[in-house]
Amino acid sequence: MNLSLLILIPLITAVAILLVKGLKHVRTIALLGSGAQLILVFVLFYFYRQERAGGNTSNFLFENNYTWYEPLNINYHIGVDGISIAMILLTAFVVIAGVLVSWKMEKLSKEFFFLLIFLSLGAYGFFIALDLFTLFFFLEVAVIPKFLLIGIWGSGKKEYSAMKLALMLMGGSALVFVGLAGVYFNTNINGVHSFDLTQIAAMNIPIEVQKLFFPFAFIGFGIFTALFPFHTWVPDGHSSAPTAASMFLAGISMKLGGYGCLRVATYLMPDAAHEYSTIIIVLACIAILYGAFATMMQTDLKYINAYSSVSHCGFVLLGIGMLTKTAIDGAVMQMVSHGLMTALFFAVIGMIYDRTHTRQVAQLGGLMKMMPFISTVFVIAGLCSLGLPGFSGFVAEMTVFMGSWQKVDAFYRIATIIACASIVVTAVYILRATGKAIMGPIVNNEHLSLGDAVWNERLAAGLLVLGIVVIGIAPFLLKDLINPGTNIIIEKIAAVIK
């Protein structure tokens, strides 16, 4: 099948949104578009499994390679492997859920949904790109819509947060650009420089070059995935954004970073990744534990989830830094799992906020009585985030731990133990929030009149919960999906460490 459809459908949807008038039509089109996309992604998933079952062992499937800027040897080169498909699935889920939760977006609805879909376009393109330029292009496509979404439809100090987010992410991509340029000029595929990921992976970049440009690429992408100390856009951005945008931010755009760190930085520059792994691990551990402790002190539900995202994305970086097969598997699984889980969390927080108009834990209480569904979903999200078996979080985190423990040196052991320790802290803040907001006595009697979730919210939450539970119960599905992808990465790394 032609992967360009993945970009085409959102594009058509976006254009269609521009053409129609009125919230009703707009949202219908958005829903149809994202639904079609979801179906398409499942079809892709199916075909992918068919191919693999058919014994197709090539690294990337469904490749298309069109020449784009011939003089600079820039191609529009797309293709997928398991990792990309996992990410695309995640995106599709989050997008449709995002559309559903913003069903009643009266304010400038056309613009809102247009930007939403446009944002998803960026994400899809990023995940299927096999040409560094294309990849970078889509990476930046996905930045500005966030700025507008937060700035126009956000709440709280939205302008500040939006500006901060946009600038830090652009800073990130600026660093990425330098890294990419460095790689580009140090590739020489029969006489010409190349942006082609597969070609670059085939050749070996000299180690000193890698050591020079790996930090650029890694930190650049790291900013997207809340690498300490560049994580400060996360709390403000997430908490000021409208519900759907927060879901996007935490669910997808932070994954862009992780994916980039893995697919570009680590895969293309394994020597440097090996060199710098200790630093990465240290930063990741700081992010994990320190993020968790910072979360413990938050009083705003969105801030809680935002900081916990910092902590959870630390696992991704940790897994990548450990450079063992299992750890990298874990990192990828953690990306997917965290994407779904945090999107669910934001969705449900949004639902609560729509009803109670507050996110302060202190002003909430006993919601279980008025809105059992929402509360249940909240608890599910919480339990997933504190790594309860049966939900995706557990699988991912345990895989990361297992993988990190395979490194024998005491340093890695201590890092792993620190990471493990965070699960206790996670339990503390999740249970504090749940105990105060969902359980406990009702603090505000006006809340007594509030209703439970309606169909669109139920559907959105249901989809995400489904994803979480399926991964949690049958992780081997995800594992088998990403396995070939992580294998090719690990082979390159293994070649280095030998």
């Binding site: 901060k164 600038l167 830090m168 300490f228 100390p229 994580h231 400060t232 856009w233 709390p235 320190y290 402790f293 910072a294 413990m296 002190m297 938050q298 900081y307 097969k325 299992t326 006993g366 279980m368 009585k369 059992p372 339990l383 504190l386 309860l388 078996p389 049966g390 557990f394 699988v395 345990m398 895989t399 731990f401 297992m402 993988g403 423990w405 395979q406 005491a410 792993t416 133990i417 493990c420 320790a421 699960i423 206790v424 339990a427 503390v428 249970l431 504090r432 105990g435 969902i438 359980m439 406990g440 006595p441 009702i442 992780p475 081997f476 594992k479």
Partner: protein, 642 residues
């Protein structure tokens, strides 16, 4: 014969119940939910009995030892070529025994709850949670894989959390559930790291293979795990000790026991099921599961012993001072589990040395019956009085005849008076302790006396002592609540006569039960003394008790305050963790890290403000800058930057 045909149903039926009631219960099955849950559980109870029959009497025994039968096993998540999480069901004596216990007690609790929880608003949710718990517990006991056990371990933890917090609008209940979860979670951290260590060196997560790998003295894995060491302690010891920390957390062993008394905030039948019979013994079960490994390291076993005995003794003392009947029972539970623990600790592996192992399991078995009986009895009392406090009670024997009798039976059983179940198991434990370590034996003996004392203190102050006049007197209880009492009372009477050693022993062969009347004089005597003392103090309404407590003074106060352990924890969490780590972290993030980012922005702005003078609007200064620039460039590129 093939177990896999039906064995999976045993855990899955409760799960089905959970899903069914959890999803549709609130809407459609409001009233029928109890019946549904109970019915499903009945089936799985029957099935597990059938399994037990098959295992013990039909095909479990090959030669003269019981085999480990792997009924089902499939790879769930593979980490590396031979390390993987498998989902499986293994049958061996202890798992089968636990199957029976769990399903049976759970069934009793289900039935009891039909009456006890009648008219609750979240009746279906309650049964859903019960189903979830039963499922997780069953999954735990039949696990074939170290990581599988950890997963179900977490699941029982969360279902206990949900059930403790069942009355979610009671802040105390919420706090208790939180406490329970977090404390056990903390212990599980140790468990997890232990697993990581064992799995890394044992190169597998599968129990069978793991034990084989590590017990064969010359296997590479054994050498690896014994030679590798951290701060002079071998990796094996580390691993097992950390795993034991997990067990201790679940089993409310000192010093991780603080959550258990608070857990009594949950509905009483739940306490009977989770916090008396099943979940809290998971720790014991875990140690028993890994027993062959524990026997490899005296250090870990020693730790087990010490923790067990200390918990037993401490809990007994505290139990003597509590006034909330459920708390008394909670501490007694803790103390009894302490017994099981140190029984394992003092045990050896195989043959006669394995007595402690058998005894521990035996006590676990019997304890399940009489302790759940006690809780359910207490449940009836609370249901009747609508209070947990002893002072509101007294002389209830004429209102609650059946409860009275069954409660008495249970008290006798736990006090170790022959011929009740507790006598046999406790006597074996003491014997095992006697054989290995006299000090342990002494403490245990004294503790059994204490046990008798506080149990009968409880008994007398509920059913005898002062008269309380009862208004709105509505019968003792519905049949659904009486029936389990009767059944469990019967079990508490007869369970002791099961020749337990034939079925469960450390080396799977028959272990002759050496019942020695001479030896059992001492414990029985202690028990009777305890009972008499309690009778003297509490049978009639009097002030003896106050006098005694005054005479004890500080000790009494300390015990009454549970030796201030909660306060210590509170201090550590609130003052240290929150104030010294959490707040600073948040502050740093807000002011320093984020401040840095904003700082960059502000510096840029201020710089641009600082240099705005260049653009003075005066064309002549522009010209000067212009020419200055040229001169500067010329100088730089002609003389400096060659």
């Amino acid at each position: 014969m093939n177990y896999s045909s039906y064995i999976t149903l045993i855990p899955l039926l409760p799960l089905a119940g959970f899903l069914l009631l959890g999803i549709f219960g609130r809407r459609y099955l409001k009233n029928s939910s109890g019946i549904i849950g109970t019915g499903l559980l009945l089936v799985s109870a029957v099935l597990s009995l059938y399994t037990a029959y098959n295992y013990f009497f039909v095909d479990g025994k090959v030669g003269d030892s019981y085999q480990t039968i792997t009924a089902i096993k499939f790879t769930w998540l593979s980490f590396s070529e031979n390390v993987s999480i498998d989902m499986g069901i293994i049958l061996d004596p202890i798992s089968v025994m636990m199957l029976v216990v769990v399903t049976f007690v759970s069934l009793m609790v289900h039935i009891f709850s039909l009456g006890y929880m009648k008219g609750e608003e979240r009746f279906p949710t309650y049964y859903a949670f019960l189903g979830l718990f039963t499922f997780s517990m069953l999954g735990l006991v039949v696990s074939s894989n170290l990581f599988q056990i950890y997963m179900f371990w977490e699941l029982v933890g969360v279902s206990s959390y949900l059930l403790i917090g069942y009355y979610y609008d009671k802040p105390s209940a919420v706090a208790a559930s939180k406490k329970a979860f977090i404390v056990t979670r903390f212990a599980d951290l140790g468990f997890l790291i232990g697993i990581l260590i064992l799995a890394f060196y044992g190169e597998t997560l599968d129990f069978k293979t793991l034990i084989e790998n590590l017990t064969s003295q010359q296997s590479s894995q054994f050498l690896a795990i014994t030679t590798a060491s951290f701060v002079g302690v071998s990796a094996l010891t580390w691993g097992l000790t950390l795993v034991f920390i997990g067990g201790a957390g679940k089993s409310a062993m000192f010093p991780l026991h603080i959550w258990l008394p608070d857990a009594m905030e949950g509905p009483t039948p739940v306490s009977a099921l989770i916090h008396a019979a099943t979940m809290v013994v998971a720790g014991v079960y875990l140690v028993a599961r890994l027993f062959p490994l524990f026997t490899l390291t005296p250090v870990s076993l020693g730790i087990v012993t010490v923790v067990g005995i200390v918990s037993a003794f401490l809990a007994a003392i505290i139990a003597c001072t509590q006034t909330d009947i459920k708390r008394v029972l909670a501490y007694s539970t803790m103390s009894q589990i302490g017994y099981m623990m140190f029984a394992l600790g003092v045990s050896g592996n195989g043959g006669e040395n394995g007595l402690g192992y058998t005894a521990s399991m035996f006590h676990l078995f019997t304890h399940a019956f009489f302790k759940s009986l006690l809780f359910l009895g207490a449940g009836v009392v609370i249901h009747f009085i609508h209070s947990n406090e002893m002072k509101d009670m007294g002389g209830l024997r004429k209102y609650l005849p059946i409860t009275n009798l069954s409660f008495l039976v249970a008290c006798l059983a736990i006090a170790g008076i022959p011929p009740f179940a507790g006598f046999f198991s406790k006597e074996e434990i003491l014997l095992a302790a006697y054989n290995s370590n006299k000090i342990v034996y002494g403490v245990a003996l004294f503790t059994s006396g204490l046990t008798a004392f506080y149990m009968f203190r409880l008994y007398f102050s509920i059913f005898w002592n002062k008269q309380t006049e009862v208004h709105n007197h509505h019968g003792e209880a519905p049949f659904s609540m009486k029936f389990p009492l009767i059944i469990l009372a019967l079990c508490s009477v007869i369970a002791g006569f099961i020749p337990f050693g034939e079925y469960v022993s450390s080396d799977r062969t028959t272990l002759e039960s050496h019942f020695d009347p001479m030896f059992s004089i001492a414990p029985v005597a202690f028990g009777i003394i305890g009972i008499l003392l309690a009778m003297w103090m509490y049978k009639k309404e009097s002030t003896k008790a106050e006098k005694v407590s005054q005479s004890l003074g500080g000790l009494y106060k300390a015990a009454y305050k549970k030796f201030y352990i909660d306060e210590i924890y509170l201090f550590i969490t609130q003052k240290i963790i929150f104030n010294l780590i959490g707040r600073p972290a948040a502050w740093i993030d807000k002011n320093i890290v984020d401040g840095l980012m904003n700082g960059i922005a502000n510096t840029t702005a201020s710089v641009s403000g600082f240099i705005k003078g260049i653009q003075s609007g005066k064309v002549q200064s522009y010209a000067i800058y212009f020419f200055g620039g040229i001169v500067a460039l010329a100088v730089v590129f002609l003389y400096l930057w060659k």
